[in-house]
Assembly symmetry: D2
Amino acid sequence: MASNSFGQIFKITTFGESHGKAIGVVIDGCPAGIEIDILDIQKELDKRKPGLSQYTSPRKEPDQVKILSGVTEGLSTGAPIALLVENRDADSSKYENIKDIYRPGHANFSYLQKYGIFDHRGGGRASARETVVRVAAGAIAKKLIEPITIRAWVDEVGGEKDQEAIEHLLEEVIKDGDSVGACISCEIENLMPGLGDPIYEKLEMKLAAAMLSIPATKGIEFGNGFQSSKLRGSENNDLFEVNEGEKVSFTSNHHGGILAGISTGENIYFRVAFKHTSSIKIPQKSVNQMGEEVVFTLPEGSRHDPCVALRAPPIVESMAALVIADCFLISSCSKKPKYVGLVN
Amino acid sequence: MASNSFGQIFKITTFGESHGKAIGVVIDGCPAGIEIDILDIQKELDKRKPGLSQYTSPRKEPDQVKILSGVTEGLSTGAPIALLVENRDADSSKYENIKDIYRPGHANFSYLQKYGIFDHRGGGRASARETVVRVAAGAIAKKLIEPITIRAWVDEVGGEKDQEAIEHLLEEVIKDGDSVGACISCEIENLMPGLGDPIYEKLEMKLAAAMLSIPATKGIEFGNGFQSSKLRGSENNDLFEVNEGEKVSFTSNHHGGILAGISTGENIYFRVAFKHTSSIKIPQKSVNQMGEEVVFTLPEGSRHDPCVALRAPPIVESMAALVIADCFLISSCSKKPKYVGLVN
Amino acid sequence: MASNSFGQIFKITTFGESHGKAIGVVIDGCPAGIEIDILDIQKELDKRKPGLSQYTSPRKEPDQVKILSGVTEGLSTGAPIALLVENRDADSSKYENIKDIYRPGHANFSYLQKYGIFDHRGGGRASARETVVRVAAGAIAKKLIEPITIRAWVDEVGGEKDQEAIEHLLEEVIKDGDSVGACISCEIENLMPGLGDPIYEKLEMKLAAAMLSIPATKGIEFGNGFQSSKLRGSENNDLFEVNEGEKVSFTSNHHGGILAGISTGENIYFRVAFKHTSSIKIPQKSVNQMGEEVVFTLPEGSRHDPCVALRAPPIVESMAALVIADCFLISSCSKKPKYVGLVN
Amino acid sequence: MASNSFGQIFKITTFGESHGKAIGVVIDGCPAGIEIDILDIQKELDKRKPGLSQYTSPRKEPDQVKILSGVTEGLSTGAPIALLVENRDADSSKYENIKDIYRPGHANFSYLQKYGIFDHRGGGRASARETVVRVAAGAIAKKLIEPITIRAWVDEVGGEKDQEAIEHLLEEVIKDGDSVGACISCEIENLMPGLGDPIYEKLEMKLAAAMLSIPATKGIEFGNGFQSSKLRGSENNDLFEVNEGEKVSFTSNHHGGILAGISTGENIYFRVAFKHTSSIKIPQKSVNQMGEEVVFTLPEGSRHDPCVALRAPPIVESMAALVIADCFLISSCSKKPKYVGLVN
């Protein structure tokens, strides 16, 4: 089943395994005339090393992106834009010994059930490495939706919200060879109302699907989210007023910028729960494909991220940008287009 | 933009407004040979009046479903199955006075921004009434996926988990003319592993999209969900063991039955946050379409649900059934089908 | 497999069998604000009785269309538009005796192979009756694409092009209890250039798919079509010139209004081949589901069309209108939409 | 608008321009466990130089294909398969002088109307070079559908069917610097009945769309095709009989292997009309983007194919293979899949 595409009008298709030759993405549906500079894309890729980068995995990939098609003289042409990132640091020999063992929290058990075959090297297709090209595609989506801006940040690690407590926790986790979960918040600004479609193409549906496509995500909430399940209508409803510019506005934004699936013009706000990295240095009970109980230990020298979410903000931003770009293009279809005669 | 369909292989398309002539659904992609009894469908519709029904809105719709097509002699034929429920109790005259006012928490502001027109009577297309036909379609999906079973229940109202405290709270809320949010849990049992597809058709993506298509939903979490963002890998990873039947199994189910987007064979578990009903009997500050600040008061005699989620378990079950039915049909495409010669 | 929808943005889903309760269509993706008058739809349905109607089947259906949803005060709201036509003249008792016989040229053999079940009454889902609701949907598509116009006509019957020869032939065919094929031409005028998309969403692809969805079609050609396979480039290329209005134009239209999948602004012209009606009054050799050779004879009093294509021009027009409506809405996505702030 | 994908379950997405860095294809939805040998793919690519190759364009591309992903140890894994062919022989300097001129029969006029920008070098995205990767993808589709086989051949050139007359005509056309159209026939054998879906996913629809996506195609017909529009039901209906193996079979195959959109088990037969190559060495009247009338002359040393269809049989075969592969995978969805418990 084709399952590697995301989006309807502005659509990406990704390919490539963690330890294969390359990972790539085809962006199909980018309108013509968008300024695309490879440096802008590269800059987004480099952002995957965020403020807390001392705590992230040391995979040494230059992640140099190439534009294979769809751009000429700095402009998109309407043709599909293919972006390629070659894999270099892909020594998979150390995975040989563990290739038959079901890895706790990992993809190999469920993939094997489904396909009967699994490219185990570095997690194969299920690796977070696939997200590199999402960020590359997101860089182009961000250009398309200007001046709308998207910002994501780690707002909680292991239940801690204080920066100092977080750093302390991460150091402890690293020392223990363990890992820990985190939450990421995302805010979208300068949005127009009317994005998203009713019933089964609601903006929350698309954003939720986008976020839960990111490895290690376990939940999402919009606006007041789970908290709003505890509140009363009289506390949580956002009222209307006329603001100074004589425009209609909301007295608050508990709804998080979306009502009935359609953007209201308020900032969109949502929050995503990430579990811990599944790989830990602590030995774990498991079973191998021969059906024998074994102890699973991560191979010597394996890369190890104490908290996978630390790298996720650019991925969250990119997936959000893809959704907004798609809705932005779709939005022109809710009213009858102007009939235009011969253009030339 | 077409936005009233859900599913890929087992696909529904719904139509109809709250106060229009009828609401309906076309199920396209139901395999031939499924036993379909109108009484089974009717039974599911009747379940929309759950245990706490003394607290739900008294709309007097018999909700009698008709099968217009796709079934002959009690069996699906492979043709689209159209189900129709006529609207009867639809006195919309009382909405006349408030039709120009933006209703806090409701669809009319964002719909008007998008379409420039809004069928205000009873919430029009954005009404929860649309969910009636989802339940009807879900009844057929449930037949298709047997013996897989799906069960949803209200697990928390306004932050209260105790049945007595919930009843007390609801009575208070009704007395105040207010409303309150709630959470619904859902569990899927007897599932095979291998359902769902990697990357952008993950089972969580589809379930999250399904749930966030339900009016008033604000969030979803799978397995340990947001709690797993606070935990360590060593606490939250589910380990493997060989059980008595000499099958591989998990020592726990913190992951909620899905790993890397694909079912593991464990029960799927997720939880959905619903906000309160947006309509309350307490007057609220608002603005009308002429840009004037007004006080919005619900018309005399309007139906009023203190907690919209009380009616939602059958809807949650139905949307989950639609997702599982779709994945079940898709699952046969992950391996090469057997070549069969002339069948007759 | 869901297979009863057509179109991407302006999308129809049809349902209903020839001898079931009703046939219907859901139009999803019609923009808001289109003027929709039930009389316009009815008028198109009535056109299914064309100039040569004395030669068409006497099924006595009033074909009264009902609008169930999506239209309020004469305007589309952006919600799905459901149209329903009830079946009345559906005496299927006369089909009882032949229900187990494979009917030459008909759907029942291939449907039975696929589904193992067939609703034989009147051809079930495979009946031309399904096209009634295509015409109803086409009436709305035609409103959307104004001032673009579409005109289809029978240009050849049984190889004859002369009106008198055609009438003579039809009378002979009726007398023989036989049937005969025909060709239909279609021309689309007042079109803008730029409709259609490259590579796999070419305008010819969509029109070809649209036409070959009509029962009894066996081929399609665009512009000079099959004739252009016999010609040289120097004969068949359309050259460019500057016309009196100082606009670029073509010196001829051998290409039929489409180059590389995209409309050029010239009239679109194509031609569709229809085979004869499959049902004839002459006994035919066949086999029944028990595997016995039998002689198949149409039941006494069966309706019989000597030439199914005589009724097809409104269907051809409607399917073309659906394609053009879809491309028209899509066309706004090839360039970046204007960013608009808060609308109200 | 995303328009570079073809297929639903077995889905390809192509990218790349004639004179860009590379052309490529992502195959998404290939089941796991298919044996994929790069030599099989290369062999299909090499077939693009068919029997009449002395008459085809001398572009010197080695067309060496690389597999970037989705295959491990000779087997597909269920992950997307990306294939890349680098462009080498791409001297586009000779196109500089003609880049502003509308080229008769070419894409640049309609593309410019749509996008406002055109990558003119070698036809950019609209070039027949894009078809190279279709053939590569088709090679994999052919493996999937074994033992079904597909064979396409040139059956007529410029109206001539005799091999000697064709060669004579082609030599004359080359001498004149002109070009000529042709027809290609295609036959699919060893097919099971039941492929294709009713109404809007008919097998003819998909094959017609597939064929009309190939550059220079102007028409398609199935079975007796346009000829059946001249015949009577009594002549053209295929009757049923019981053959020696006591199986139901047809006495003839005028229908071309498809009835009501679904394969009957007979060979599928269709025929595609190709116009001449649009580029000819004879000067042609045209207009440039500044709106001036000019004479268009192909640059010195341009490659020139007298008959573009001579190279098309492998492309026709590949597109047919993609359609059949898709239908083959879909076919398992028409009946309820068997419920299977835990697999391991």
